[in-house]
Amino acid sequence: MTREETPNALRAREIAAAHAGMDGPLLPVLHAVQHALGHIPRETLAPMAEELDLSLAEIHGVISFYPDFRTEPGGRRMLKLCRAEACQAMGAEALGDELRARLGVDWHGTTADGAVTLEPVYCLGLCACGPAALVDETPVARATPERLERLAREVTG
């Protein structure tokens, strides 16, 4: 393909081409594109579809099925708060309410300053020390709203 492409589209094309020999490459490709670009911009769908020999509709269908994939940019940090039963037994619901109020966002929302995106998750495997959260890749046990807000707003390096 030699036509003009945006840098994002080119990058996605490279990533897709590098995975094209796999059995079932689409999820690894989507993860890699999101890792490289922070989200999956719409302009990357066509080059991925071409390299992987899939239709745009298929790729779109897959992206929309999985909660992890986002087609719009998120905040600088990703705060995943567990809402599942073991954490509820330790007060996760009230924690979720207070955290949303503090950050001024609802579930899936990004704070106005672009610092944090808040995502609900259902279990992080930290169920014996809940309520649990994951700030980017940092696990947090016995989480409090103060601590989570501080971690989430810490300036990224």
Partner: protein, 504 residues
Amino acid sequence: MSLTLYLPKDSAALALGADEVAAALTREASARGVALRLIRTGSRGMVWLEPLLEIERDGVRHGFGPLEVSDVTNLFENRFRHHPKALGPVEAIPFLARQTRLTFARCGVIDPLDLDAYRAHGGLRGLERARDMAPAEIVAEVTASGLRGRGGAGFPTGIKWKTVLEAEGPQKHIVCNADEGDSGTFADRMLMEGDPFCLIEGMAIAGLAVGASRGHVYCRSEYPHAIRTFGAALDVSRGAGLLGRGFDIELRVGAGSYVCGEETALLNSMEGKRGTVRAKPPLPAHKGFMGRPTVVNNVISLASVPVILAEGAEVYKSFGLGRSLGTVPLQIAGNVKHGGLFEAAFGMTIRELIEDVCGGTASGRPVKAVQIGGPLGAYFPVSLFDTPLGYEECDAAGGLIGHAGIVVFDDSADMGRMARFAMEFCAVESCGTCTPCRIGAVRGMETIDRILAGDPAAPAILADLCETMRDGSLCALGGFTPYPVESALRHFPEDFMARQEAAE
């Protein structure tokens, strides 16, 4: 002076501050001119004691925990002897002493990426034995052990392997289900972070048993540390020739969907599709990954195979109760005083586990209920706590053991809300294939709201809806959501009273 210390890097330990303690230990050691060898291990599974530091003295590991950074100076001052956080010999702590650690024997003991330590602690003996056996002999040994799937359905592992061994096909696959989506469960995570070679060895044995040269681990994305440790263990294994010759494993990462833990949805997801459930037949054993014969097993099922091969089926099946043979890593979570992972022979009662072993609730209030087997599992009231933890036994009590997660609730829990949450979870996670699940779960939430608002017609509608979901769902997400809903309603009717009345 040189000093060797052991400190977990399991995610739960990290979440409780293990890295901060590690940094403080390193700082203090260098300030004192001590050459510190800090070995980062998996977790012993005593989560309330994390971060749990260990030191070996005369061949016995002594523990200190739960440690804080402020404890570190004092530890050095007291030369790691007397200390307010001293726990004595770790293996004498009752929570650990009462266990039978077969699958988790090395977890928390060794550096998870040290293959020599793995071998020195009994690793690879199972695989070495399997290499001298015919495939059918390996399958027979696993069948004789009585091992049943630890992922939830409890299907005999040996019988599944036999089907794949006998299936025709030039390429077969071993798929490890590491999607561990059930609330209250973390055994898969702990094993992948604490003893990844054990899973690799189990998968290699499965490969020999059925004639598969390719293995795949599908791990949920919510487990970044397990992904990193397991990925590193794959590299070490290839470097050492354990993988790469005749059998190799690739690591795939999920994308936040619970239903992808269902084996056919998982296969679709691995193939790059939406994670919708496939109708069976065909079985994955005949037409699995890319339409080829495939073993799909849970992490713990596969990680139990090395010890079965090493010690023999007879030893393994000498543990357990009835048709639940061997050991099960029980995971006790939620509002519990001493929570964590407790590997024991099947058959311990809920009461013994929750009251004696785990010391009741963290809040100190009375236990109200436990939910066993994840979000699709039933709530057990205290009156059912004499139920032994086994497949048939939990079933007879109106529930299921599932992946053996046990979530404890104190008397402040509102079972009406928990029932509503079960429906909400089903609605959020439904793959959308069946109407009773996709639409029924949303109707279920609304109907529970109506019950809580005092609508006298609503309970009958809910009962009807649960029946439709049970009968009309392709998989257990829609089919088993009635378990938590109806058990909550059956055992705690007072929590479904109209809210204003309850407040009076």
